[in-house]
Assembly symmetry: C2
């Protein structure tokens, strides 16, 4: 068993290295200006070698990059509850300010995937519902501790927080004078007795 | 002069009819499932006839549809000020609930156009800045009448309103339990002494 398992581990490591390179290339150049060849060069492989791991080509690389980014973001929130979860959400927005290309690619794919026929539709729809539920739970936890202002519905607060985070990303990409992290924080604080 | 002017008017009317048909087809089917041929049929023309008016094909038709929609929305706000302008913004969100395909196409094009290389980039960036300035002016007018809550900055209120309208559209397209018009109204009311 040692042989195949070793092979498997090596292949998994290779995939991670390719995704690191793809992330850097996409974040710098955006999707249309990036190429599988450039990603291959950045990781010291041939284009064929990269396509062996990601047979779907550039779009498969982009989806894998975004999925890994999502998984990491969700992992960073995993053990957080209530106010800490909401503060964690603000911190995720803060890290995005260094990832223009990736935020842009995410925005395009998220918009394209609203098409019921789009292959990424189930992934994005499920993802939005899952995040909405997690943010709702966090506001409920804050409410259980008496931390929500009078009349605030945890669900409505969660959906509006999610909406503003998405919208701020778009405005930021169009060079409007928004601060994704601080404006999200201010919005969330509009629901809380004590600010985060 | 009567001849050419008549020709011009006829051509302008034809363009409007084509755009009416394109709007209906795009709104029903979305971009990828729509074709110039289908739009031509809907308006009783040949594909060649449509391409005579829109030589850029399907993408040119989409841009013209969205630009006309924008122009109409802006026209509906033109003579409104302060609270009436903000209420008008809510009404625009309300009409979008009947235009799923167009909202979706708008979202995709707006996201794609955040790419500095995209041909629609200047149009969208300029558009966002112009709308942000108009909404800021409306909040300033409300403030001049003493209608803003303590500590509300007109600019920050405008940008967060714009962000939430954009984000609500995306969540709505992904079937989350949002109400674009009422949730926008609630957000705006969070800045006002008296609700709209």
């Amino acid at each position: 068993m040692a042989g195949p398992r070793g092979e498997y581990r090596k292949s998994a490591e290779r995939r991670e290295q390719i995704l690191d390179a793809a992330f850097a290339v996409f974040a710098k150049s955006g999707y249309s200006a990036s190429s599988v060849n450039e990603i291959a060069k950045a990781v010291g492989m041939t284009q064929t070698g990269v396509l062996h791991h990601f047979s779907g080509g550039k779009m498969a690389l982009l989806r894998a990059v975004l999925e890994r980014r999502d998984a990491r973001a969700e992992h960073s929130l995993e053990d957080l509850h209530g106010r800490d979860f909401l503060a964690g959400l603000v911190e995720i927005s803060r890290t995005q300010a260094d990832q223009r290309g990736v935020v842009q690619l995410y925005s395009i794919l998220a918009a394209e995937a609203t098409d019921p026929e789009h292959p990424a539709r189930p992934y994005f729809a499920e993802r939005f519902h899952r995040i909405a539920d997690a943010v709702t739970a966090a506001f409920q936890e804050v409410g259980a501790d008496g931390g929500l202002l009078e009349g605030v519905s945890p669900r409505a607060a969660a959906l509006s927080t999610l909406a503003i985070i998405e919208g701020l990303g778009l405005l930021w990409l169009d060079d409007l004078d928004v601060d994704m992290a601080e404006d999200s924080r201010r919005h969330i604080n509009g629901f809380l007795v004590d600010p985060i």
